[in-house]
Amino acid sequence: MPDLSAARSPPRFEAGPTLAPLPPASRYILRGGPAVRAAAEQAAGVGIPAEACRAVTREGRAALWLGPDEWLLIAPAAQGASLAGQLATALAGLPHSLVDVGHRQSGCELRGPLAATLLSAGCPLDLDERAFPVGMCTRTVLAKAEVVLWRTATETFRIEVARSFVAYVSEFLAEAGRTTPDQGLGSRPQLETFS
């Protein structure tokens, strides 16, 4: 019997010469009430935001508020099993839902002074930093794809999208880059990927 435990073939963003694939991440959707949020924080190793549309990060882990009772937890791939185990232990007896979505979606990072301009080609939100500050995240659309958009730095956004939309989002952003005027702001945005 072959051992295929390392034989992952994740979808790849193909957005340009600066593309730099990163190792796969583990992801979970956590659902539950305030008691679940409180009980999960220590086990998750990262604060779990109560504030709407905010993300919290700590030592490679992230918790993104997606709804009043819904968070997306992201951790390095190798930590997925232990994270899930610790959460299951911490949440035993509390009504909740913890679902592995590590392969459901894929992530990429868009960087550069034109990043918000580029996203605006397909996202109707106001991405001015006053309206969409660093640390803000939300479910939204990028053209015809549902995405989770997270501003991780002034000129950096992380996009999480369902795996079957990876090629679509890649090509949409590449096309937006080709058709977005440079505006004299320097280099074109770069796309980095998390599978």
Binding site: S9, G33, D69, V99
Partner: protein, 298 residues
């Protein structure tokens, strides 16, 4: 089977209980989004007191259907699960590994044969497919596509929602009464299906049709008539929903929705042909192949 509040079939699929408070729900291929939306709608409006949460996992899992009398032998050397009929009977589910990859294994069949559906996290789909393919070479494995699947399921009278149903078909019309929990105090659509008109013996019911000429494959969508020749306008008894040539049976088979169909077993009805004339057909059970399920439960 999932009903709308009007009592008509909305979707079907397999519900696997993974834990007392955890279910893995599958739907028709294109139905997942609308089923999820319907469940979320009921959760937010009718049953907001329930501590229940829905998460879409359509893209999380790659699923490989391994179907056929040798399916067990193909998988046995790859998985760490006991595949015997006693341990994993038809409609059983188990968690384990295939080639070291985490797996949810469903013993389910849309072909009528002994079958398994191997669910692995999607990034592993290609590698696991290749491993199953390689293990299957000793058992004459073949890849089958949607058209083959359609014939295999029709031989067993398994419906396709949207093909054999059209939004006016109740579970009973489709022959799915066995899937209705009659002792449940309530379910979506229960009040509607209890109305007299929804229980009329004259409703269009799913039946099988066997053409007098076994080589003739009826056109799907053809009308079904009580008489070979009638003066127009004529009210049809129903229509053909699925029609194929079955290699396993060596003849054509069809399914149809026919008024009072289950009370017409053995009757001869008539299907007008595109080329003119009519084809006489005999009303039969829609389960054409292995009606006792011996192959399914092997």
């Amino acid at each position: 089977v999932l009903l709308r509040d009007d009592g008509f079939v909305y979707d079907d699929g397999v519900v696997a209980r993974l834990a007392p408070d955890r279910f893995h729900v599958t739907t028709t291929t294109g139905g997942a989004a609308r089923v999820l939306a319907m469940m979320e709608d009921y959760l937010q409006t009718e049953w907001s007191e329930l501590a229940v949460w829905l998460t879409s996992t359509t893209e999380q899992w790659a699923v490989i259907a391994v179907q056929g009398p040798r399916a067990r032998q193909v998988l046995a050397g790859l998985v760490d699960i006991d595949l015997s009929a006693a341990s994993l009977p038809h409609m059983g589910v188990a968690a384990g590994h295939i080639c070291g990859v985490p797996m949810r294994l469903f013993r389910v069949s849309f072909t009528g044969e002994l079958g398994f559906e191997v669910n692995v996290p999607a990034d592993f789909g290609a590698a696991v497919w290749e491993a199953v393919w390689a293990a299957g070479q000793a058992h004459s494995i073949t890849a089958y596509g949607t058209e083959s699947m359609h014939v295999l399921r029709a031989e067993k009278g398994y419906i396709i929602v949207g093909q054999d149903t059209d939004g006016t078909v109740t579970a009973d019309d489709a022959g799915l009464s066995w899937a209705i929990g009659r002792n449940k105090t309530d379910f979506v659509g229960k009040r509607s299906v209890q109305r007299p008109a929804m229980q009329s013996a004259d409703r269009r019911q799913l039946v099988g049709l066997l053409t007098a000429d076994p080589e003739r494959v009826l056109e799907e969508g053809s009308q079904v008539l009580a008489q070979a020749y009638a003066t127009l306008p004529v009210r049809p008894l129903g229509h053909v929903t699925s029609s194929y040539y079955s290699a396993a049976l060596g003849r054509s088979i069809a399914m149809a929705l026919v008024a009072g169909g289950r009370g017409r077993m053995g009757q001869t009805l008539y299907v007008p042909l595109e080329t003119g004339g009519v084809a006489p057909v005999q009303v039969a059970s829609p389960v054409f192949y292995d009606p006792k399920g011996a192959r399914l439960n092997a």
